[in-house]
């Protein structure tokens, strides 16, 4: 909030009064964050760019309806999330499938456990990356949006439900399903890097 000196509410009020300069400051303040959010949900840069622009245009159009009891940034996130959901729903393409593993290829986890060396670690990293991306691509739009808002944006379940117009239970289920799908995709890899936690002997 550097440029606004902690007075975001003041800038919002001025923008609502038709002050374009105030709205410009708000745009400059929130663009990069909204881009990350849009990219994480939409999954590509071009869509994310479009989503950011449409978010601000919608926000500008609906400034009079903004309830200033909520944070302005959260209101923008709400618009951006729904915009991103519209984009991924409109693609109407089936989820990408996880490529079948080559049965003859060495399991990267086994390689790591055998050597623990540099190249193998890189291979593991590539494999983790591939599996995470595939798992994300298999999420439904609601699962993806809810998970991104919970995991990356750190919104609470209640906030996410309000943003996506889902019940609290539906929001939780969307997040759980997302985590489960990723856990299943990563299970063989994640098991190798469990952090140590002492379990009391019973």
């Amino acid at each position: 909030m550097g440029r606004m000196g902690g007075d975001e509410a003041g800038y919002v009020a001025r923008a609502r009064g038709g002050d374009a300069e105030a709205f410009r400051v708000l745009v400059e303040e929130h663009s990069a964050r909204l881009f990350r959010l849009a990219y994480r949900i939409a999954g590509n840069e071009q869509d994310a760019e479009d989503i950011v622009q449409e978010t601000f245009i919608k926000a500008h159009r609906n400034l009079a309806r903004y309830d200033d009891r909520a944070a302005f940034g959260a209101w923008l996130s709400r618009i951006a999330s729904n915009q991103a959901l519209d984009v991924i729903r409109s693609r109407r393409r089936g989820p990408e499938r996880l490529e079948p593993n080559d049965p003859d290829a060495p399991d990267p986890v086994d390689m790591l456990s055998e050597t623990g060396a540099g190249p193998e670690r890189q291979l593991l990293s590539v494999e983790v990356n591939r599996r995470v991306k595939n798992a994300l691509s298999r999420l439904t739009p609601n699962e993806r949006a809810a998970f991104v808002l919970r995991h990356h944006e750190e919104h609470s379940v209640a906030e996410i439900g309000a943003m996506l117009r889902l019940s609290e239970n539906a929001t939780k289920q969307a997040i759980f399903r997302a985590v489960r799908k990723m856990r299943e995709a990563l299970r063989p890899l994640a098991a190798q890097s469990r952090p140590g936690r002492t379990v009391r002997e019973s």
Binding site: V27, N129, F176, M182, S193, R194, P195
Partner: protein, 275 residues
């Protein structure tokens, strides 16, 4: 806390914490966090599941850090530059544009043509149109008038892009090519695509096959431009220019525009009115 969790403990009836509660626990939203924490210290099975979920979430965070593009501090200003023209354009601001009167006339005429087409189609059965159906000749003339302006605007825009390279654009010999900003052309292309679709349908209804094919070809090129980023590289610019040149689209537009104007002129000279 999930329904199968023992009330007040965070632990299921089977003696373990549910996967759902572990997810909430890791996100700091479990209502019985202390009970779950205590259980994890004592239960190796739940501890293992919790660690697996934690590792999964950590992997997602790591991949995100690698994959999500970072926008510079200047990005906000770029976004503003792109949206500002659209914000300042009030609901009726577009009427001030120099092409607005012709565009508005064309739009009205197209609507009249469509209404007339529908009137002609249904008047023998149910719909009564007070002004009566218009003649085929009048429909043609309306289409010709509307098309003239559309083709002119499309030609001007494509000619501008086709000539981008020769008029003071930086070349590789001058130094690193920094790209060409075609964001305004992209917006104009989007407007032309929207309008062109109406004209193409109208041309189809009027049996103007040549015009319909040209509009279809034009729409494909314009659509490509609407999908371009704000700033394109030299190669991307050349690809667009090559497509314009290969298809001879500018020549076709000029020829069709000239033909349209000639036909419109001939019809005007006959002194017939529209309706």
């Amino acid at each position: 806390m999930s329904e199968n969790t023992r009330a007040g403990s965070g632990v299921t009836g089977g003696g373990h914490v549910s996967e759902e509660d572990l997810v909430l626990f890791l996100y700091g939203e479990a209502p019985e966090a202390r009970a779950i924490d205590a259980h994890l210290d004592a239960c190796a099975a739940c501890h293992g599941v919790c660690d697996e979920i934690r590792a999964t979430l950590a992997a997602v965070t790591a991949v995100d850090a690698d994959e999500t593009p970072v926008r510079s501090a200047a990005y906000g200003a770029q976004v503003w530059a792109r949206i500002e023209p659209r914000l300042s354009r009030g609901r009726f601001e577009w009427l001030r544009a120099p092409w607005a009167p012709r565009f508005a006339l064309a739009a009205v005429l197209v609507l009249m043509l469509l209404a007339a087409f529908l009137a002609g189609r249904f008047s023998r059965t149910e719909i009564e149109v007070p002004a009566g159906p218009i003649s085929q000749e009048a429909r043609d003339r309306i289409l010709l008038l509307a098309m003239d302006g559309h083709l002119e605007r499309a030609q001007a825009m494509l000619a501008e892009i086709a000539n981008l390279n020769g008029l003071g654009q930086q070349t590789q010999a001058d130094g690193p090519f920094s790209g060409v900003d075609i964001s305004s052309d992209r917006d104009r292309a989007a407007e032309l695509v929207s309008a062109g679709r109406i004209y193409r349908r109208t041309a189809s209804l009027a049996g103007e096959t040549g015009l319909e094919l040209l509009l279809d070809e034009l729409e494909r090129i314009l659509t490509d431009i609407t999908h371009a980023p704000d700033e394109i590289t030299r190669d991307e610019l050349h690809a667009i220019q090559k497509r314009i040149a290969d298809r001879g689209i500018l020549l076709k537009i000029r020829a069709m525009g000239s033909q349209v104007r000639q036909r419109e002129k001939e019809r005007r000279e006959t002194g017939r009115t529209f309706l």
